[in-house]
């Protein structure tokens, strides 16, 4: 299990290759990537605030739960904070399992929980100023299926 919370950009392709390369006996690797949307309203920046200490702890708990619930060989979460521009990569998750169903489901579980249980807050900064992104009811409801 590899959990990283960082301000610096990362190389998505390299991370995916390293993750897939270090697995033994795993037939399936699923990756998900979150990217800053280029909004029509003219998004200039996305500012991501987090709670140092609790962030790492919360993600570790979420990932450990995923490892227990599914038959996973490994999991990776990289989540950035600070100021990001349109089209920049915000975060990625990767899961490795012997079979694809475990890898897919665990990746979805990780994403659903990272959305509303990891202490990050996004602020969109446009020409009109800054606006905190509101949590969506659907994101909270998404947890019910697990």
């Amino acid at each position: 299990m590899d959990i990283r919370v960082q301000e610096a950009p990362f190389d998505l392709g390299a991370e995916a290759n390293i993750f897939a390369g270090r697995q033994a006996g795993m037939g399936a690797v699923v990756t998900f990537t979150g990217i800053v949307r280029d909004l029509e309203a003219g998004l200039n920046m996305m500012e991501i605030e987090h709670y140092p200490g609790m962030t790492e702890r919360a993600i570790t708990e979420i990932a450990s739960e995923a490892m227990t619930r599914w038959s996973l060989g490994d999991a990776l979460v990289i989540h950035r904070h600070g100021r990001l521009g349109p089209d920049e990569v915000i975060m990625m998750v990767a899961t490795a399992a012997r079979h694809r169903v475990d890898a897919f489901e665990a990746a979805q579980y990780l994403m659903d929980y990272l959305k509303s249980r990891a202490p990050f807050w996004k602020k969109e900064i446009t020409r009109e100023g800054g606006q905190w992104v509101a949590a969506r009811d659907e994101d909270e409801q998404a947890l019910d299926r697990w």
Partner: protein, 81 residues
């Protein structure tokens, strides 16, 4: 005890952290105490439905005891991913 604020809670209060000596037994009592401080605190804590709380870096609810808590954090619902 350290009391931390994030996102718009931090902006409304005007700083990220207070060090507080409190007798509050629960998070709710601490909120009452903070509300009484100044108008900007009252504004930040006006609607508890819009807030989440963590005690010692674990998400909890407003009725949680503060017995030996070292750190309490208030913030809006999270928007990670």
């Amino acid at each position: 005890m350290d009391v931390l604020y994030f996102a718009w809670v931090r902006e409304r209060i005007g700083h990220p952290k207070d060090k507080i000596d409190t007798q509050a037994a629960t998070v709710r009592e601490l909120v009452e105490e903070l509300r009484g401080r100044e108008e900007r605190y009252a504004a930040a804590f006006a609607d508890l439905e819009a807030l989440r709380v963590a005690v010692d870096q674990e998400l909890t609810d407003f009725d949680a005891p503060l017995a030996s808590a070292r750190e309490v954090a208030f913030f809006p619902p999270m928007t990670g991913g």
